[in-house]
Symmetry: C2
Subunit: 368 residues, 2 copies
């Protein structure tokens, strides 16, 4: 066994994930969708939400906590809105179809939005705004998740990492794409640090006593016992405006749960009253804004591109060499990953071997 | 002269502001709108954006930088969207009419949004979502502003404080209302500290050398010379995710400027090439989501109320007595202010006396 990071070609991993999903009972077209969302995460350098999450989906499908065959039910629909029930199917399939509905509505009416109930983990939040961007629109997507952020002045994980994703087209080779948890960090990054055996920086996670904690493995266990909590963007207390990150996480919870009368906060824990595991009942909210309803698309792209270029050209702080805009690092990372392959750390190699063995996918010969 | 804080009854101040605006040439109905938006800020305890900003509007109208008579031009309209030109009129009048358009569109089509160009400072961002909340909807409002936030790894103020406001109705006596700059703090809070003669906490503002600065008067001067910059929510650098606050501020800039092909960043400085002052050309973006298009309003209110109550009931950090949700402190503040009046600090007393004398509003007899 090679105890080092291996680099696997993008196409190999993508094809492997398709075969994993198909072997788990996901219909081929849906398996391609799931794999596409996951590999996009790896391409963008978000190691936490790509192949690194495959084992989670594998486990959840095996345990019957999410269904490989997605029943996508439109419960209610208006010219610009829809309420969708995902019936615990594949989050990526539910997400892609919902965002597509929002885009289609925005094309006709100027705006479109879709609220989703009974969904499952849908991968990187940023994938969905990218769909809108490709359609020449602004895209917005939020989701709630298992409790992990402590409200300001609390030590208990209550809100999910509740990410906000927003994308807008530009006149450059890549769009503006913001995709961030409303906490300082997120579970996936702790998982990556655990996989790498590195400590968690001060200021990210607190224990029941309100003090910072740093052992990633202990933190992941602590999450499960509700003993550790992520701090909201802005940190602990009010001095550096942690109540803003907390407020943003609450906005995401409201959009994700209240518009579909669904589960929220501890209702998303995925644990039944008898202690057994149950579906998470995650909610999402997707929105598309048709730019052409306001100004010509080319004009919007030029303005947005000019804003981003002016930001990058700002006076640098002493010792700093470069100012980025959201989505820029990820765009550059994609070029690197396409060339050198997706980095697969030893812990992840183990997970892949486990899945491969369980599903009999002997046609893949990984170098680990 | 009494060199202490005076408390002036809400109705007196509101009526005074109406008379100030009328004396400045604002039509009576519009003057009532402007005064209503400003007094709402004082009622909610946001001292920076109420009577404390009256002198700024006075100065700007006197200098011809904003027009007392508002020409509200709908440049372009679709079922769910509109593009409005405010022609440098009164920001509050432009804001209220634009948000009302978004609400009216959402009532018919489920969603509505309005992008605005050539506007002026419109008061607290949170006023506009409150209008949607009163109509049983979700409201969202953003605006750009003069450069003050430094991008991550920069020391130059580039982005405005670019606030995000989001409101949602609940089954409680008051709505959820988030209204926050995407910086840790905002210019108005520095102005309040300057008025009080108190230092600015570390972590809020940096100088050209990247170090924190604390003298509020020097900071306000430094803003004008672009020597000081606000830090984005999340702070300096990347460790505590300051790039997220920076990214959120950029989202607000894109929504406020790109959808109306307007001015942005240094274009909002309000200074012409020859060094003379010119209108700020601020942009806004308003949005309303009709809740009934998704779920019954009562159901939405109950879910949202339940989320907020569960958050407030979370385990408290050691030494903490209470957990708040967004808009709760402001709701409680309103009760206090209605009872004891609006606090008017000595510096503000001077400003009021100046305005009163300039406009001959001798009918008001303030206790200072």
């Amino acid at each position: 066994m090679i105890e080092e990071t291996c680099y696997i070609p993008v196409s190999t991993l993508q094809s492997f994930m398709v075969d994993v999903f198909i072997a788990l009972g996901v219909p081929p077209k849906d398996a391609a969708t799931c794999s596409e969302v996951l590999i996009t995460s790896d391409l963008r350098g978000i190691e936490s939400h790509g192949i690194g999450r495959l084992k989670m989906y594998f486990d959840r499908i095996m345990k019957g906590l999410q269904k490989p065959v997605t029943t996508f039910e439109v419960v209610h629909e208006s010219p610009t809105t829809a309420l969708v029930d995902g019936h615990h199917g594949m989050g990526q399939v539910i997400g892609v179809r919902s965002m597509q509905m929002a885009i289609d509505k925005a094309r006709v009416y100027g705006m479109g939005s879709v609220a989703v109930r009974n969904s499952t983990h849908f991968g990187i939040d940023g994938y969905y705004p990218l769909m809108a961007v490709q359609a020449g629109m602004i895209g917005f997507s939020v989701t709630n998740a298992r409790p992990s952020i402590a409200p300001t002045f609390s030590v208990r994980p209550m809100l999910g990492t509740n990410p906000i994703a927003f994308g807008a087209p530009t006149d450059e080779d890549f769009p503006f794409l913001f995709d961030a948890a409303t906490s300082i960090t997120q579970r996936g990054k702790i998982e990556v640090l655990a996989r790498k055996g590195q400590p968690v920086p001060d200021g990210w996670v607190i224990g029941r006593d309100g003090n910072f904690v740093s052992d990633p493995d202990a933190i992941l266990e602590g999450f499960a016992k509700e003993e550790n909590a992520l701090l909201p963007l802005g940190g602990a207390g009010e001095l550096l405006a942690g109540y803003k990150g907390y407020g943003l996480a609450t906005i995401v919870e409201i959009l994700s749960a209240s518009l579909q009368s669904g589960q929220f906060l501890y209702g998303l824990l995925g644990v039944a009253e008898d202690g057994s595991l149950k579906p998470n009942c995650i909610g999402h909210f997707f929105m598309a804004i048709n730019i052409e309803a306001f100004v010509p698309l080319a004009e919007f792209k030029a303005t947005t591109g000019a804003i981003l270029r002016e930001l990058r050209a700002a006076t640098k702080a002493p010792g700093q060499e470069r100012i980025y805009t959201a989505g820029e690092k990820e765009f550059e990372n994609e070029k690197t990953v396409r060339q050198q392959g997706v980095p697969v750390l030893p812990k992840l190699q183990n997970e892949i071997r486990t899945i491969q063995a369980a599903l009999g996918l002997t046609q893949y010969h990984f170098p680990f």
